[in-house]
């Protein structure tokens, strides 16, 4: 009897212990799950800066301090060249190739090659690691690297050098409609479709958008496409009334969007660069082309591109240019106009570099250096004005060339030998604008850096056709002007290409 009671008590205790152990296990398991979820959600929300350069494409983590995004400057520069940094007290010295920079903790200004640079926010140092505000990279890096840098701050994308991949979209054929994207470099986006919407996500390519983020095609089946970029990736979304699929071609430089129900599907199957379907047009399917075919391998160190045209969006950063209205600055109009001109030129097969593709400070001397170093066939500076009507096309008014020595030209008169070709190009541009009923004048102007450019160089100053300055921001007016300029440049291609 006694032994039975003991056995029952022992069994009760074991059951209680076992139950308690079960509760502990459940609690432990739950805790692990919560920790894992927190870890994963933390990782998912980590902001990163995508960096595109000739040497490498990479991304870096961003840290938030005082409500601003910061990035480690040493880590940013390491893939680009020889770089070293040294912390001394509250000073942080950086050496990139032969460029010396000095930063001071808590200061908003730094010294780069004995010249002051504005960081816009405090410099921070954490464990000897120098952190600079992301917003300062647009003005800081050109001085350290000695080349153009374009920062898309909102989207956390940084373009170092002439690396951007541009695209144009055009609709070919009405029945069935085919939307053809031409890219200036090979691309390999992941593609997803959902209820007549096809999304191409470019996570590795330095893709930049057209002048207007929304492209309309005036077609019922494929009415429009939009470009967007966010958190280090860019995306092109095609809106269609019917299921569509994408076909790769032209060594990854062309993507054709076609409705699935068209005869084209049966006669010519959509293929990736390897010849496989890129994306089925069924709602809910998502087929990254890389899963079915291997794109052509990109060279590790692609040679710098040679651009036929260099389009310079004048002013920028602290230099606002003319205050066109209480809400409109010349620097903003010029960059929109420059992007529009790039799109028009590239749609005519003319490779184009926009010198200032963001709101960055860029000295006139630097603009001339980039144009000269690139050996572009034509340099076009874009200005905007509230006075007068239509467009003025300028060539250089050369200053007194007192420093010219024999065959050596001074910097101020570098344009001298090529000026007749510049003037001839300006005349062609003026004629084309005139054909489109736009009031136009061709003049000389004391406008830098036209006189410092060694290649054919013109400037256009766009004013509204009437008295309404807001016309300068109207995409149709911008396109009217830029398409005329692009047509004239395309027509002068032979003459410009052969310029010495």
């Amino acid at each position: 009897m006694r032994s039975t009671e003991v056995q029952i008590k022992t069994a009760d205790n074991l059951a209680r212990i076992s139950k308690r152990c079960g509760q502990w296990r459940a609690a432990l398991f739950g805790g692990v799950l919560i920790a894992l979820f927190a870890l994963l959600s933390g990782a998912a929300s980590e902001k990163r800066l995508s960096v595109y350069s000739v040497a490498a494409n990479y991304s870096l983590p961003l840290v938030q301090r005082d409500g601003r995004d910061y990035v480690g400057l040493l880590e940013l520069l390491e893939p680009l060249g020889r770089v070293s940094a040294k912390a001394e007290g509250n000073k942080w010295r950086l050496r990139y190739n032969n460029v010396q920079s000095e930063f001071q903790v808590g200061k908003t200004r730094a010294r780069v090659q004995d010249r002051e640079a504005d960081l816009g926010s405090k410099f921070l140092m954490e464990n000897s690691r120098g952190l600079v505000p992301v917003g300062s990279l647009a003005s800081l890096l050109p001085r350290i690297l000695g080349g153009p840098v374009s920062l898309h701050e909102v989207a956390d994308r940084l373009f170092i050098g002439n690396v951007a991949t541009h695209f144009t979209a055009s609709l070919a054929g009405d029945n069935p409609p085919r939307l053809v994207f031409h890219f200036s470099g090979p691309v390999n986006p992941s593609i997803a479709t959902d209820n007549g919407i096809l999304r191409m996500t470019f996570s590795r390519e330095p893709l930049v958008g057209p002048a207007s983020p929304t492209l309309t095609f005036g077609n019922k089946t494929i009415p429009s496409a939009t470009y967007s970029e966010n958190n280090g990736v860019s995306m092109v979304t095609v809106v269609a009334a019917a299921p569509v699929f994408a076909t790769f071609g032209g060594d990854g430089r062309t993507i054709t969007i076609t409705p699935t129900s068209t005869p084209a599907q049966s006669t010519s199957a959509p293929t990736t660069p390897g010849g496989q379907p890129a994306a089925a047009g069924q709602p809910g399917t998502a087929t990254p082309p890389a899963a079915t075919a291997t794109p052509p391998p990109a060279p590790l160190f692609p040679a710098p591109r040679r651009y036929f045209a260099v389009v310079d969006a004048s002013h920028g950063g602290d230099d606002h240019g003319e205050t066109l209205s209480s809400t409109l600055l010349e620097k903003d109009v010029t960059v929109a106009m420059a992007r529009s001109l790039r799109q028009e030129l590239e749609s005519r097969g003319i490779t184009t570099l926009v010198l200032r593709d963001s709101d960055a400070n860029l000295a006139v001397d630097q603009r001339a250096v980039f144009a000269n170093a690139d050996h572009a066939a034509i340099y076009i500076a874009v200005h905007a004005s509230s006075s007068g009507h239509g467009v003025r096309v300028y060539t250089a008014l050369l200053p007194f060339g007192e420093d010219d020595r024999g065959p050596f030209r001074s910097w101020a008169t570098a344009q001298h030998d090529i000026l007749p070709i510049s003037q001839s190009t300006a005349s062609s541009v003026a004629s084309e604008l005139q054909k489109r009923q736009i009031p136009v004048r061709a003049l000389a102007a004391p406008l830098r850096p036209l006189n410092n450019v060694t290649r054919p160089a013109i400037a256009i100053e766009v004013a509204p056709q009437g008295s309404d300055v807001s016309q300068l921001t109207a995409p149709d007016y911008q396109q009217l002007v830029t398409s005329a300029v692009a047509t004239a440049i395309a027509a002068s291609r032979d003459q410009l290409g052969g310029a010495p």
């Binding site: 007194f400 003049l443 000389a444 004391p446």
Partner: protein
């Protein structure tokens, strides 16, 4: 022995003389040390222009059609070559400062001085208000520069190149566009002035 009333009278007179002397010294010191503000400075800046007027040609910018027009004017001219150049440009600027100006300049815009340096160099020194209040734009700034240079060279022989300073110092641009960092080639500006004539 001096009578008492005489002593009192002499003391009063001596005290009065001493007081007046101190007051006079104080007044003189105040007048000498009083700052001469620019607004109240009525001293002449240049010798009065008088005598017979001369017919000159001013190249006046017109914004409404973006042209530069040669307009004859009768203005009193001094005899010195440099002073003549300054008067020419001041006459031009006074047109631009007028209420019905065809090419308005900002308030206070003026020519500080013009230097004619041989061989063939003219230096036009604008005041700060001229550049700081100037409207921005390639054409509008180009018209001002062409107007100044064409006016001075059309009425003064032998100028080959022109430098424009602002408040005695070099400046990159007039108002963001027209280059002021180099010497203007008079022949090139004359060519531009021809292109800017009405009907060209």
């Amino acid at each position: 022995m001096i009578p008492r009333h005489m002593a009192i009278a002499l003391s009063v007179l001596f005290a009065a003389a001493l007081g007046l002397s101190i007051y006079a010294w104080h007044v003189r010191k105040t007048v000498v040390s009083a700052p001469r503000t620019a607004a109240h400075d009525t001293r002449p800046l240049a010798p009065p222009i008088s005598g017979p007027t001369e017919q000159v040609v001013l190249f006046v910018a017109h914004d409404e059609d973006g042209t530069l027009r040669a307009e004859p004017a009768q203005i009193p001219m001094p005899s010195g070559r440099q002073q003549r150049a300054e008067e020419l440009l001041r006459a031009l600027v006074s047109i631009y400062l007028d209420r019905s100006s065809p090419h308005p300049l900002g308030p206070g815009a003026d020519i500080r001085s013009v230097f004619l340096v041989d061989p063939g160099v003219a230096v036009i020194d604008l005041n700060e208000a001229f550049a700081d209040t100037h409207r921005s734009g390639v054409l509008v700034e180009g018209l001002t520069v062409a107007s100044l240079i064409r006016t001075i060279t059309a009425n003064t022989q032998g100028i080959l190149k022109v430098k424009i300073l602002v408040d005695g110092k070099e400046r990159d641009t007039l108002a963001g566009h027209a280059d002021l960092s180099s010497y203007y080639d008079v022949a090139a500006v004359n060519q531009l002035a021809t292109e800017l004539q009405p009907g060209q």
